[in-house]
């Protein structure tokens, strides 16, 4: 009967929490000018000065001044008389006494809570009458109707209805009852009816407090019951970065601890995803991805062998990021990289809703690489001749006749521009959903077409998602989710590196206007340098068609009160077919005659089946003891196989790769025939106990058996425990009215990793072939030694977290600190070369990680003009604590105890030898203009002992910020993110291919040393040799802050759409990647985009790192630039 009065208006009078803002400001460029209310909790001395004020207002003032909580029936208070009162610094009791003089109420103070109650029953009976017709309309915070909201009588829940397509409802109720109006995602609203009446009910969205329901894996939980570190991302948040190919791009910078780095910019590229850093120091980037990437779970089923491109981001209802082991342990052996749960939208009880979402945009490169133009190139060539250290004043790469003609004609070709074009994006989505009490359905279909900015890069995808939930009886329910996609990805690869090195003095066209196919006449590359314009040929084929279908069928039985059995049967299948055809006289095939055209075709298919049996018991005893038990048994098998074939000499271009029999010769390669199977058998039990919603305990145990490990080591058990304390439920907390919610969490858990390829315990022979004359034979070489003792790698994790909401939930957020220690890291051990086999797989070494994550949401302005901010920042440090055999360093793999997993180890460039240092330079075999590196031990020679750690690829912190402004129908959203403090290798700065400064090819325009330009930046061009220690040039500061997306939307008001077919209409204009806010790399002119665009490719230099070790690092190379997308979207509801 009593409701707690929490409503109090914002005063917008004082700027609070200055310190907090200062922190944010120091990190971000935004200057926040928000003003927030302070609730000063003063000692109870009450001053009132009111004339004919309402009782409610008066009591509320007393509450505020006293700092006490107030419990009263808001509707009853309306029966109170107006109050005239003048008091100065009196105790609370006196104030209450005076305010309630002559009123039908009395009061009682319990602790720090004031309870107002009616003096006699008559007052309450006074408001009860008989059946009245109540009509009304339920709208959301924007004034849009809410369809399908439930309206029911609180005292008699059987009297209920749902709102129609206009948000309207009508029902007969007894007079003076309390109606509960509820809708998922909104705070339940209570309203008292008084006679036949029309109500306009506005629901507030659930603020990011602790009342949300979140998906936690094998079930859902109220957020306030959650004991693990879980971040929930709503569809709305995701769609603030709209029109993306996959959800990864939408999550970048949005979740504290989730670090997403670009590894390619062609349409359909995915990214490197790491949650709370890395734990396994894996040899290669693919191994690191396999063992460190989070596990994705789609609608409750592990998404294995799938591509995130297979999930249409528009279908996503929410993404839950499970971070700590107490949350992830239920996924056991695949959870050490964290778990990301993706839940798709399903149908709801209510009228059928049709929603159309369409986006069209144009894309362009966000910038261009600064390669030398004609003038710079000529100067560079001349300087390389002057600087020839081997045969002075000569070059093996002179200006050719064709280039001389180019000089005479003033040719200055930007070759990169010949392969780039404006791209576009179109994305159309149609969704129907609805249902009855017993049947709910949802059908969503979409088509996306993304034309890349380089020729022969194009991505098209069609999606169909269908879900059905059917309640058969009180006991049984079945359902189905089927997620299907068919995509065509055209991707010839990035040709920018090839195009960019061609001399700008050459012309792409002959004098007659035809294409100059081989422009580099007279150079060593004359046959292999083909005009990049040929990339526009329609004969080129580089397409991968992929069919993916994920199907989950479930059956649920409510066996007994609170006891539920569920079975999930899932089958996922995908098939990729790659067709490739490379015509001759083309940048993709430099040969000249048709019998040298080449084609290939390959097929890969995967399937995964999974059976899960889940038993759940959910019961509350004695109103205080809430118990949930979940038990699981599951079995899973995944299978991969493939085939492929190549042909040379396809007789006509139009045949492409459709029939390889037409080729002059056919061949197959070993790599085209993968085959692997892996099985996983799991048992899991989880128990949750909550006392009075205050004290929470979760205990989990999971046991996994994996096929990829050695006999006797196939099973592993993971325990996890977590405690939660909802401090806000404590009585003493009630005296802190500014504190709306507060929860402390402490979790401990174990997760594991068995994400190695199958069959590794058996060792491997690599298959080769040889011709003894004309006698052809297959051969084998021992390349990997078997290790039957492989066992699970596991991680112990401790997480301490706090969730809070303060100042009427104007500011809410979480802070988590954690440590994680990983043991028995599954790693490929590089063996001394004299072992024969170069590698073996072992469990060796330990690592540890620690970090802090802060997530804050604030509602800065809340009137007509609204301003919300979401901010997150995370600090993560990983380090190797132990290597195999007690080593302190393992240089071949690039691992050092006490260091992060990916470090830079090389000589340290201290500058360029200057003319007056010639004598000293000669001691090191160097000359003025050459790179000077530090002689660490001062032994007058540069050798392996002078190598040093120069930094790491691990960021100091990553952070993201979203600001959302709205006014009337307009809203403006800006999403920014940053990755700070890490190093990056910029591959083109040292020209790892060895051509730097020989003057053979065009290259990035740098401020190189000459006798008259004695810089310390880049060495002197030298036609005689590539510079010593060139690798030292590539290591750069990779910090950046970028604006990811700015979108401006307009919601057409209902008044305009009135009576139309269209129920809602929103138009949004978006720009993705509008600008870079901060990046030293860009400021120094060394790149136009500070974000990584690939793996590896850097020069090993003196590091001694293996190719695999180098390949793990995120790098910037001459690849296709990131795109800026300008798009317009229309979202219409019918």
């Amino acid at each position: 009967m009593y409701v707690k009065i929490t409503a109090h208006r914002c005063m917008f009078s004082s700027c609070a929490n200055v310190r907090l803002w200062r922190v944010m400001k120091s990190v971000f460029f935004f200057v926040l000018i928000g003003c927030l209310q302070v609730s000063a909790s003063s000692l109870a001395q009450i001053s009132l000065n009111k004339t004919n004020a309402s009782l409610r207002e008066t009591l509320n003032d007393i509450r505020k001044q006293s700092g006490y909580s107030l419990l009263a029936d808001a509707d009853l208070l309306k029966l109170g008389r107006l109050v005239t009162i003048h008091l100065n610094n009196v105790p609370v009791t006196q104030a209450l006494d005076e305010a309630l003089v002559g009123q039908p109420f009395s009061y009682q103070i319990n602790g720090r809570t004031i309870v107002i109650y009616a003096k006699d029953k008559g007052v309450t009976e006074q408001v009860v009458r008989k059946l009245d017709r109540v009509t009304g309309k339920v709208i959301d915070e924007k004034g849009e109707p809410i369809i399908g909201a439930t309206v029911r009588v609180k005292s008699d829940p059987k009297i209920a209805t749902v709102t129609d397509i206009n948000g309207a409802f009508s029902m007969d109720v007894p007079d003076n009852v309390i109606l509960l109006v509820s809708f998922l995602g909104y705070e339940t609203h209570e309203v008292i009816t008084r006679g036949s009446t029309t109500l306009n009910i506005s629901l507030k969205p659930v603020s990011k407090d602790l009342n949300e329901v979140v998906v936690v894996g094998y079930g859902t939980q109220r957020k306030r019951d959650v004991t693990g570190a879980v971040t929930s991302v709503s569809a709305e948040t995701l769609q603030q970065v709209p029109a993306q190919t996959n959800v990864v791009n939408q999550l970048q910078g949005r979740v504290a601890g989730l670090d997403i780095s670009t590894t390619g910019n062609a349409p359909g590229s995915t990214s490197q995803i790491r949650l709370r850093g890395e734990r396994s120091f894996a040899t290669s980037n693919s191994a690191a991805d396999a063992t460190n990437a989070p596990l994705f779970v789609l609608d409750g089923v592990p998404f294995i062998n799938g591509s995130l491109n297979d999930i249409n981001p528009n279908d996503i209802l929410s993404v839950e990021v499970l971070k700590d082991a107490s949350a992830t342990a239920i996924y056991g052996s695949r959870a050490s990289g964290g778990v990301i749960l993706i839940t798709t939208k399903r149908g709801k009880n209510g009228p059928t809703i049709v929603n159309l979402n369409t986006t069209t945009g144009i894309t362009n490169a966000i910038g261009s690489y600064s390669f030398m133009n004609a003038e710079q190139y000529i100067a560079f060539k001349q300087e390389s001749i002057a600087g020839n250290s081997q045969t002075p004043n000569t070059t093996s790469y002179p200006i050719t006749v064709a280039e001389q003609n180019g000089i005479n004609n003033g040719t200055n070709t930007d070759w990169v521009s010949t392969i780039l074009r404006p791209g576009y994006i179109t994305d159309n989505q149609l969704r129907l959903s609805g249902g009855t009490e017993n049947t709910q359905f949802s059908i969503s279909t979409g088509y996306r077409d993304e034309k890349g900015i380089q020729y022969v890069q194009h991505y098209k995808r069609g999606n169909l998602l269908f879900s059905l939930d059917q309640t058969i009886s009180k006991v049984f329910k079945v359902g189905l989710t089927s997620n299907n996609s068919l995509s065509n990805r055209d991707n010839i690869g990035d040709r920018l590196a090839t195009a960019s090195t061609i001399s700008p003095l050459l012309s792409p066209y002959n004098s007659d206007g035809s294409i100059n196919v081989r422009p580099a006449v007279g150079t060593l590359g004359e046959l292999t340098t083909i005009n990049p314009l040929t990339l526009r040929s329609s004969a080129i084929q580089a397409i991968t068609r992929r069919l993916n279908t994920n199907n989950v069928l479930y059956g649920e039985a409510n066996i007994y009160a609170g006891l539920k059995y569920r079975v999930n049967a899932s089958l996922a299948y995908n098939q990729s077919q790659a067709n490739s055809y490379n015509p001759v006289n083309n940048i993709v095939n430099t040969n000249t005659t048709q019998d040298q055209s080449n084609a290939s075709i390959s097929n890969t298919e995967n399937y995964v089946w999974l059976l899960e049996n889940i038993l759940t018991y959910d019961k509350t005893f004695a109103d205080k003891h809430h118990l949930i038990f979940t038990g699981l048994f599951s079995a899973e098998k995944s299978h991969t196989q493939g085939s492929g074939m190549n042909a040379i000499g396809i007789p006509a271009d139009y045949l492409k790769s459709y029939n390889l029999f037409h080729g002059v010769s056919n061949s197959i390669t070993n790599a085209n025939f993968p085959y692997s199977e892996r099985g996983l058998v799991s048992y899991m039990a989880r128990a949750f106990y909550g006392f009075n919603d205050k004290y929470l305990l979760t205990a989990t145990v999971r046991r996994d058996g994996s096929s990829v490990l050695g006999p006797g080591n196939q099973y592993f058990t993971y325990p996890a425990f977590a405690l939660g304390w909802n401090v806000d439920r404590e009585n003493f907390a009630k005296s802190l009215p500014w504190m709306n919610s507060l929860k402390l969490r402490l979790g401990y858990g174990v997760t594991a990793d068995q994400n190695i390829n199958p069959y590794q315990i058996l060792g491997n022979l690599s298959a080769v072939a040889y011709n003894f004359g004309t006698n052809h034979q297959n051969g084998y070489l021992v390349t990997a030694l078997p290790n039957a003792d492989l066992r699970f790698e596991h991680t112990n994790n401790i997480n301490l977290g706090i969730d809070f909401g303060v100042l009427n939930n104007r500011i809410s957020g979480s802070v988590d600190v954690y440590t994680q220690k990983t043991f028995d890291v599954l790693q490929v051990l590089s063996l001394p070369l004299s072992n024969g086999a170069s590698t073996t797989l072992v469990n060796a070494g330990n690592s540890k990680g620690k970090g802090m994550e802060i997530t804050l949401s604030s509602r800065n302005l809340e009137r007509d003009f609204k301003w919300n901010t979401d901010f997150n920042i995370s600090f993560q440090r990983s380090e190797i604590t132990e290597l195999h055999d007690g080593l302190q360093q393992d240089i071949g793999n690039g691992w050092f105890v006490g260091q992060p997993f990916n470090v830079i180890y090389d000589y340290k460039k201290t500058g360029i030898w200057q003319t007056d240092e010639a004598t000293e330079a000669a001691v090191y075999g160097a000359r003025p203009g050459w790179i000077k590196v530090e002689d660490l031990n001062d032994d007058k020679k540069i050798d392996a002992n002078d190598r040093q750690l120069l930094g790491s690829y691990q960021p100091d912190y990553i952070t993201g910020m979203t600001n959302r402004f709205s006014f009337k129908g307009f809203d403006l959203t800006a999403v920014a993110f940053a990755r700070m403090g890490q190093m990056v290798s910029v591959n083109y700065l040292n020209q790892a291919d060895g051509f730097f400064n020989i003057g053979r090819m065009n290259q990035y325009n740098l401020d190189y040393w000459t006798p008259t330009n004695p810089t310390n930046g880049w060495p002197r061009p030298d036609a005689g040799r590539s510079p010593l220690y060139a690798s030292t040039l590539q290591y750069q500061n990779g910090s950046f802050i970028k604006m990811r997306t700015i979108s401006l939307g307009y919601n057409f008001p209902k008044s305009i759409l009135k009576d139309g077919v269209v129920k809602s209409l929103k138009i949004t204009a978006v720009v993705n990647n509008p600008f870079t806010i901060y990046a030293p790399l860009v400021r120094k002119g060394l790149a136009f985009d500070p974000e990584s665009n690939g793996y590896g490719g850097q020069d090993s230099g003196a590091s001694g790192f293996s190719g695999n070790a180098l390949g793990r690092a995120l790098t910037i190379g001459t690849y296709i630039p990131q795109t800026r997308v300008w798009s317009i979207g229309i979202n219409a509801g019918f």
Binding site: T391, S396, P398, T400, V401, Q404, I472, S473, F476, V521, L524, L527, Y565, V567, T592, T593, Q596, N598, L611, S634, A635, K637, S665, S667, Y675, S676, G679, L680, V681, S707, L762, N764, L765, V768, Y770, N771, F772, G773, T774, N775, H776, Q777, G779, Y780, L781, V782, L785, P786, L831, P832, S834, N835, G836, H884, K941, I942, D943, A944, G994, L1028
Partner: protein
């Protein structure tokens, strides 16, 4: 209620099924890859041997290993496009502590050799039980012994003391140590001695019991094992592990092989050019061992005109000058190019070039009686375009467009010559008149012995067998052994065989002057007076550019002396310790347990 029952039944069945499958789910059965257990079968043993043959391609023919074997000697200097690794090895500058060279060049040898040796150790171990037929077993395992000896020989003469593994490594070790060269040589000689009686007599000769042998082409035969054995004896004879009988054994083994050549179907052609002709490749009686290639994408690892081919025979590339850059008005940068790239002239890599000042004037001082200079070097490039130079218009296929004579043709001839003439810089500077351009790092005489005009595409690497052991070298081995035994008579006899043949000219050129053969004869007195340099010069004339030079100079303890005397590029930097190569840094870094793996002195 029916439907409920059905669901209950189905659910129960599903649960039951999922329980039953469990143990089977955890089994592993690879189906597209092969595990080391396969080595224990007959096909596995044969495959292991074939695998090692294939892996020889990753060394011989590759650019880096070519540098290791060929550059930094008296024969060659750097070309215009030599890589940083090649530059270090060619000039010995920035070589000490250069981890890139250590790992790229010597790491590749170290890694591949030990990978092969381990596979061969597996073959020899499992091969004891894999076969049902004793003859098959003997012949197959003899291949493994030969290959193991070949690889250890390569290691020991490159690095000195090296790890000696003779058992298949099943569990990896992170420690290793170096065995003295005497132990390594002992194993090599044991393996080769056995192989020389167990191997097939002729290549591809059917094994009696099965009537087949996979080891056709230029796979090892008894003759191959004997050749290598004689060379190993010779090499050990010069080394600190020398045994008294080594030179005698080397001489005897070589002489016996020469004398019984017909047993093995081997022998010397009557003219030098025949042994290098592309036409002889199918069955060249002078080739005792070669790494083979063909145009099959799988077995020959042929990749059409790949910019960076894998496991290719690059020997035909590396000497090529950048002839297509020479334009009509050379040395000014105008006019059309005179020769475009074609099959005959090949892909210009210009990694190295002949050390012309020595090669043209001293090594091949006699180019009249000794025709090998002309058999070895390409000095003319025939016009394949009808372009006009200041001296006239070239006729396609007839006129020489580019000419690199080892002498000055004279003012008159040069002025009349329509194409462009290049001469060694000393000649060009001294000459008067016109059309006298010095050799540059991009234009110089090329080595033509490895040319492969029959390959499919211009940019293709050579598909010819890459020869590691030639019958002719036996005479040089025998001569050197005889020299060390002070048997100058035998030395002279052996050298004279090759020298006299060198006077024989190909059919399509003007005949040799009268008495040329006799002029080439060498006497014991000359042999005695000529010392080791006489043999080394003869080696260079006979085997120029064949990737044996570095070892020849090191074996005969002549490297530093001759390089200082003859190679001005390397003179300032070469030091006495450089007769051994550095242990790859990766090996030193990866030996992480136990004593540190020692580096060679000086590096």
């Amino acid at each position: 209620m029916k439907i409920y029952n059905k669901i209950v039944v189905i659910s129960t069945v599903i649960c039951m099924l999922s329980l039953f499958g469990c143990e089977k789910l955890l089994e592993q059965t690879p189906r597209s890859s092969i595990t080391p257990a396969f080595l224990a079968t007959e096909a596995g043993v044969q495959g292991g041997i074939t695998g090692v043959y294939q892996n020889l391609r990753s060394l011989w023919g590759s650019e880096n290993y070519f540098y290791a074997l060929q550059v930094g000697t008296d024969e060659v200097i750097t070309g215009g496009s030599i890589s940083a690794n090649g530059l270090s090895l060619s000039t010995y500058a920035n070589f000490v502590s250069n981890n890139t060279v250590y790992n790229d060049v010597f790491g590749t040898l170290f890694r591949n050799a030990y990978q092969d040796i381990n596979t061969l150790n597996g073959v020899l171990q499992f091969g004891q039980t894999a076969f049902t037929d004793a003859d098959v077993q003997k012949q197959y395992l003899a291949q493994a012994k030969f290959l193991r000896a070949l690889l250890y020989f390569e290691l020991v003469r490159t690095f000195g003391d090296v790890p000696l593994h003779t058992a298949f490594i099943t569990s990896p070790s992170l420690s290793d140590s170096r065995a003295p060269i005497s132990d390594v040589y002992a194993l090599i000689i044991k393996d080769l001695t056995e192989a020389s009686t167990e191997l097939q007599t002729k290549s591809g000769e059917p094994i009696t019991s099965t009537n087949i042998s996979p080891f056709a082409g230029y796979a090892a035969t008894r003759a191959t094992a004997l050749f290598l054995l004689s060379k190993v004896y010779l090499t050990r004879g010069w080394s600190i592990a020398a045994q008294i009988s080594d030179f005698n054994n080397a001489l005897t083994t070589a002489k016996n092989l020469i004398n019984s050549a017909s047993t093995y179907g081997k022998g010397l052609y009557s003219s030098y050019d025949q042994s290098y002709s592309e036409a002889s490749d199918i069955s060249n009686k002078e080739i005792l061992f070669a790494v083979e290639h063909n145009a099959d994408p799988k077995y020959g690892e042929y990749s059409l005109a790949a910019a960076t081919p894998v496991n290719f025979n690059g020997w035909a590339f590396f000497f090529r000058p950048n002839y297509p850059t020479i334009v009509a008005n050379y040395p000014t940068n105008s006019g059309p190019q005179l020769v475009t790239r074609d099959l005959a002239n090949g892909r210009p890599f210009q990694r190295i070039r002949p050390n012309a000042d020595w090669v043209e004037t001293q090594l091949f001082a006699d180019k009249t009686n000794d025709y090998r200079y002309w058999n070895t070097f390409q000095t003319t490039w025939i016009a394949n375009k009808a372009e006009t130079t200041p001296r006239g218009t070239l006729t396609i296929g007839a006129d020489t467009a580019l000419w690199t004579p080892p002498y000055d043709p004279g003012d008159v001839k040069r002025a009349a010559f329509k194409g462009v003439i290049f001469m060694r810089p000393s000649l060009a500077t001294a000459a008067t008149g016109t059309n006298k351009n010095p050799y540059t790092p991009t234009m110089y005489p090329s080595v033509k012995k490895f040319d492969n005009p029959g390959r499919p595409a211009i940019n293709d690497a050579s598909l010819r067998p890459l020869v590691l052991m030639r019958f002719s070298e036996l005479y040089l081995i025998a001569a050197e052994a005889a020299f060390k035994l002070n048997d100058f008579s035998t030395e002279a006899t052996m050298l004279s065989v090759l020298r006299k043949r060198a006077a024989v000219r190909p059919a399509n050129v003007p005949p040799a002057p009268a008495g040329a053969v006799a002029q080439m004869e060498i006497t014991p007195a000359q042999a005695s007076a000529g010392g080791i340099d006489l043999i080394l010069d003869e080696r260079s004339r006979e085997l120029f550019g064949e990737s044996v030079r570095w070892y020849d100079l090191v074996r005969t303890q002549s490297l530093v002396r001759r390089v200082k005397a003859l190679n001005p590029q390397a003179l300032p930097n070469i030091q006495d310790f450089m007769i051994l190569r550095p242990i790859p840094q990766a090996q030193i870094d990866l030996v992480t347990v136990g004593p540190k793996f020692p580096q060679n002195t000086g590096f």
